[in-house]
Every structure is written in C-alpha cells, then in structure tokens.
C-alpha cells in the first residue's frame, strides 16, 4: 500500500467514502501458493454512513517473512 490507502479501491462511487469499516473477514483457504480472504466492507459518502456494502477477495502471499497482497477480485461479479 505504498501508493494509495488500503481501502481506496474498495470504495464505491466517486464521492469517496467518509465512513468505512470492515464488517467481516472470512478465511477461504489456500490456493495457488497463497492464503485467500473474503472481506465484507461497509461504508458510505456521509459520516456514519454504512449503507453501502462491497465484497473483496484478496490473495495474500508470504515472501521472505513478509506478507504481500498478490491479487484482488470482486466475488460478486458475474461475467457477462
């Protein structure tokens, strides 16, 4: 996260979220040499606005005793 806040790409819409929180983190398992987590994030444009919910699945890998996020995907997206 050297270039943006951790949640920048989680946010929804152009307003920029004034409120945001991780509602839950679920461990999905191991795959492709990494650990996968499913994030449920609530937030919104106003203060104490948690009306929006987005989901992100991230892949975390460990390299030289340091953890890295290696991939991000939206689990709700269906190919058209």
């Amino acid at each position: 996260m050297n270039y943006a806040s951790f949640t920048a790409f989680y946010e929804n819409g152009n307003c920029g979220w004034a409120s945001k929180k991780v509602a839950s983190v679920e461990y999905l398992g191991e795959l492709n040499n990494g650990d996968w987590f499913k994030f449920t994030i609530k937030g919104g444009c106003g203060i104490n606005d948690f009306s929006e919910t987005i989901h992100r699945v991230i892949k975390v890998i460990k390299k030289d005793n340091t953890y890295f996020i290696d991939y991000i995907i939206d689990p709700t997206y269906k190919r058209e």
């Binding site: 951790f6 152009n14 461990y27 699945v57 975390v60 890295f68 290696d70 995907i73 939206d74």
Partner: protein
C-alpha cells in the same frame, strides 16, 4: 657247805632273778598296755580314715554315675544330632543335585534363547533393512508427490466461482495474519501489507491511479477494468 653256799647263792640269785622277772613282767605289762593304747589309737585313726575314704569313694562313685549319665545323655543327643545331620546332609545333597539339574536346564534354555535371540536379531536386521528400503521408497514417493503437488496446475484467479472449488486447508489458523490485515486496514500498525508488483500494476491499471492521488473509482469501473485486465 659248798653246797649250802651254792644253794644260798642260788637262792639269792633265784630270788633276785624272781624279783627281776616280776619287774620285767610289770614293765612288759605296762608296755603291752601302751602298745594296746597306741594300737587302739591307730585303729581309730585308721577307721576314721577308712570312713573318710569311703565317703570320698561314695562321692566319687556318685560323680562317676552322674558323669556316666551325662555322657550317656550326651551320647544319645550326639547320636540324634548325627542322625539329623546325616538326614539334613542327604536332603542338602538332593537339593544340590536338583539345583545342579536346574542350572543345567537354565544353561540349556539360555543357550536356546541366545540362539533364538540371534535368529530374531538377524530377522530384525533384515526387517530394518526392508523398512529402510521401504522408507527410502516412501521418501522417494513423497518427493514425487511434492513435485506433483508443486506442478499442479495454476487455477485461474479472475473467476471467483472457479476458485471456490479449489480452496484447501480451510481450517488453517490464520489469526495472526488476520490481525496484521486488520492492523494495516486501520493504519494502526507500523508495518504495511505491501502489494506485489503484479497486484500493484493491477491496482494502478484498474484505478487509473496517478502517483500521489488517493484514487477512488466506481465499483462498476473497478469490476470492469479489473476483470478485463487480469484475464
């Protein structure tokens, strides 16, 4: 005259002779009495000694009888002891003989056990060799398995529905990792959860990120760009 003189002399001599004989008789009588007294005294003394000796003899006889009785009793005891000793010796000899037999049996058994042990040791050595061979085979198979695991196909990551079927080891303890992720999210940990170059490129692309700008994109754009780029 001569005859008379002679007779006178003879008479005188006879008288003096008679006088002398009487004295002698009295003297002898006195001497006899003295001897009798001495004899009686000696006799009494000897009789007393005889009595004392008889008493001593009786005592000695009694002692002899007592000693003879003691000797007899001791002899009986000794005989009984000897009999017991002989019986005990016989029993001990029998036990010794029995123990010798048992020792011989044990020696034989020991020899048999040693032989059996040697056979078993040989068997164990053979089995260990066999196990070592099997272990080597298992190690080889494990290494092959690991290689096979390592080369298992990479599951495409841009399709969540496709990923769901391949997750493994879901029970793994990741509490520590979750703590780190939450800490980074809240920005209350000094350490950062960095992006790999691959992910960083992806984020830059999907958010059309410009350095220094905390970019935010619409969800639809994220999905569209992300999925189109990461194929």
């Amino acid at each position: 005259m001569k005859i008379i003189l002679t007779a006178f002399f003879m008479l005188t001599i006879g008288l003096s002779f008679s006088q002398s004989k009487k004295e002698q008789i009295e003297y002898l009588k006195f001497k006899t009495d003295s001897l009798t007294n001495v004899l009686e005294t000696e006799r009494a003394k000897n009789q007393k000694q005889v009595q004392e000796l008889n008493t001593s003899l009786n005592t000695a006889e009694n002692q002899r009888k007592s000693l003879a009785n003691t000797l007899d009793s001791s002899s009986k005891v000794l005989i009984a002891e000897r009999v017991n000793f002989l019986i005990t010796q016989k029993e001990l000899n029998l036990r010794i003989e029995k123990l010798k037999n048992e020792i011989d049996s044990l020696r034989t058994a020991c020899a048999n056990i040693s032989a059996e042990s040697f056979k078993k040791q040989v068997l164990i050595d053979n089995l260990q060799q066999l196990i070592k061979g099997k272990s080597d085979s298992i190690l080889l198979l494990t290494a092959e398995g690991l290689k096979l695991k390592a080369v298992k196909p990479f599951v495409p990551e841009n399709n969540y529905d496709g990923l769901k079927a391949h997750f493994t080891n879901r029970e793994k303890d990741v509490a520590n990792l979750k703590t780190i992720i939450f800490g980074v999210y809240r920005q209350d940990l000094k350490e950062s959860l960095k992006l790999t170059k691959r992910c960083s490129d992806f984020v830059n692309d999907v958010t059309e990120f410009t350095a220094g700008y905390p970019g935010a994109i619409e969800e639809h754009t994220f999905k569209k760009n992300g999925l189109s780029i990461m194929i």
